[in-house]
Amino acid sequence: MSFLSIRNLSARLKGRPDQILRRVSLEVAAGEVRGLVGESGAGKSMIGKAILGTLPQSVEITGGQIILDGTDLLSLPTAQRRTLIGAKCALIPQDPLTALNPSRRIGPQITNRLVDILHWTRADAEKRARDLLAEVQIPDPERVMRSYPHELSGGMRQRILIASAFAAEPKLIIADEPTTALDVTVQKQILKLIAAMQARHGTALLFVTHDLGVVSKVCQSLSVLYAGYVLEDSTIPDFFHTPKHPYSRALLAATPKYTDPDGSLTPVSDAVIAATRAEVEAADRSAHV
């Protein structure tokens, strides 16, 4: 049984027929790194938010299950669900510039949950924060813990958010495009850091990205999302050798190769997009009868 198992999850904008998620199913085993890829607007972030219980109020879940470690999150009352998620999951957010509270020092932003919710002593929590900051290669953790977010660079802040995500030893971390908001020069370091932290802590990781190159380096399996619909679910070797779906093949052809970064690229053609859209809509119709 997977640690996280999403089954037939559907969501839409409240009071509107447009589907944001269409019977999404995906599994993340304990310790596994799964990529979640798709173009912008495909619904990748919505899946992450649905798991973490942070969907916007305008979005409602219309069906399906999100089973975390054997418990269906959607059947729990909000307070209980939050406690469970807080204990087992963590988020590495997309934009490190907005994900830290501007009026609070870094130290408490890492330690507060350990003290408030997990009832650690303040001293233990602070030691934990120092160790983690050192682990994410932040020089002078003591000083950084006393700093305010605006005194630190974007790369530093993302390291802090990574450290913070690992603080309570979660079983599953959701990383939502954790490098897109960063300088190109820092992106690679942060990516390496996440991979290294994941390997060392053995945490399962749902890695949201629109970059197949990144997926090939970090993940063991992936789900391809289009218009809220999972087109393909493969292991990484299978996907890169024998992609099943035409859209996947087109996506691969549109991605610079790890081995040949300057090779020729073909953008995803309109024909493939039209065929994919038709397939998604046909699947919708057959599900509704």
Binding site: A99, N101, P102, R113, I117
Partner: protein, 336 residues
């Protein structure tokens, strides 16, 4: 360093403001018709009596001359003598100031509690009927000015269901052991909670009348800022950490959402103090505002000047305090 500089700059502009207020008030009340001397003499007083008194109060000199005399007095702490009561203006004004300060601060506290409660409840119950009801209530509170609230409160809790005092500052028959005029504060310090209760029950209605419009403003603005803040990434992140929604609102969103409200409360608090003039009259509350109206009716020029200057000092002082608090609460400004 920069901080100190900006404080000094603020102090300078404050002084200039006060000087401007002094000039304007001094000349305006002398241009307005009405003779204070004629009003204080009994009918049948002779021309000579009038001339003698006019000279006594220096009103026979030219207006610029009078101004110079007054200013040089003020600079030495002498605000002149009240024409109606013959007492030093400074002493009169300072004896009434505590009543008005206590009333204003009480009103501010009520407004902050009411408004804060509205904003927090509305945010916690976003999208519910309760939030809609709060919005409607705020709108109504805002569209009625403080003195009308005063009348409504007098009619409701003074006449229909008489549970609060609606006149005066304290029950006149009570013996008061106080050495200062800060009755409410001193009753607490002396542990005379019986007196405290009586004074608070007198103060509650006028304070509430002053507080209701401000509470509505605080409620609306704070709720708006909270609503915007609740969508920010760090708030969402706090939710995923297992905190309750109430904790997320109070500890993550509120400290950041409160800054615009704080600035506004500063400005609005000065309006509230201005509102005491009419509210004190309405509730026969013996404060500065009530005294100001008497002074204007009697054309007691030195007293009017003294009261206006004091109000101006309070206004600018409040504004300065708000700016400093704002800087202290916002780490970005503190380090800049």
């Amino acid at each position: 360093m920069q901080f100190l500089q900006s404080v000094l700059l603020r102090l300078c502009t404050t002084l200039i403001t006060l000087a401007g207020v002094a000039v304007i008030v001094f000349f305006v009340i002398r241009v307005v018709p009405g003779n204070p001397i004629a009003m204080m003499l009994p009918p049948g007083a002779t021309e000579a009596d009038v001339a003698r008194l006019t000279a006594l109060y220096g009103l026979d000199k030219s207006i610029p001359q009078q101004f110079l005399i007054w200013v040089s007095g003020v600079l030495q702490g002498d605000f002149g003598t009240s024409i109606t009561t013959k007492q030093p203006v400074l002493q009169l004004v300072l004896s009434r100031l505590p009543a008005t300060l206590e009333l204003s601060v009480m009103a501010l506290i009520i407004a902050v509690i009411l408004g804060g409660f509205m904003a927090l409840t509305g945010t916690r119950l976003r999208g519910s009927k309760t939030e809609a009801a709060i919005d409607v209530g705020n709108g109504m509170a805002l569209s009625v000015p403080d003195f009308l609230w005063g009348l409504i409160l007098i009619l409701t809790f003074g006449v229909l269901i008489p549970i609060f005092h609606i006149s005066g500052r304290v029950t006149p028959s009570l013996p008061l052991p106080f050495t200062t005029n800060f009755y409410l504060t001193e009753s607490v310090l002396r542990l005379r909670f019986d007196l405290w209760l009586d004074i608070a029950a007198h103060m509650f209605m006028p304070a509430l009348a002053l507080a209701i419009p401000l509470a509505a403003i605080i409620g609306q603005l704070l709720k708006q800022s909270l609503k915007e803040t609740m969508h920010l990434d760090y708030v969402t992140l706090a939710r995923t950490k297992g905190y309750s929604e109430t904790h997320v609102i109070l500890r993550e969103a509120l400290p950041n959402a409160i800054l615009p409200t704080l600035t506004l409360v500063g400005v609005q608090f000065t309006f509230l103090i201005g509102g005491t003039v009419i509210i004190e009259r309405l509730f026969s509350y013996e404060g500065l505002g009530n005294m100001a109206i008497d002074a204007v009716i009697n054309r007691d020029l030195p007293l009017i000047q003294g009261i206006v200057i004091l109000f101006a000092v309070i206004f600018t002082g409040v504004n300065l305090l708000v700016d400093l608090t704002y800087a202290a609460l916002n780490p970005r400004l503190r380090h800049a």
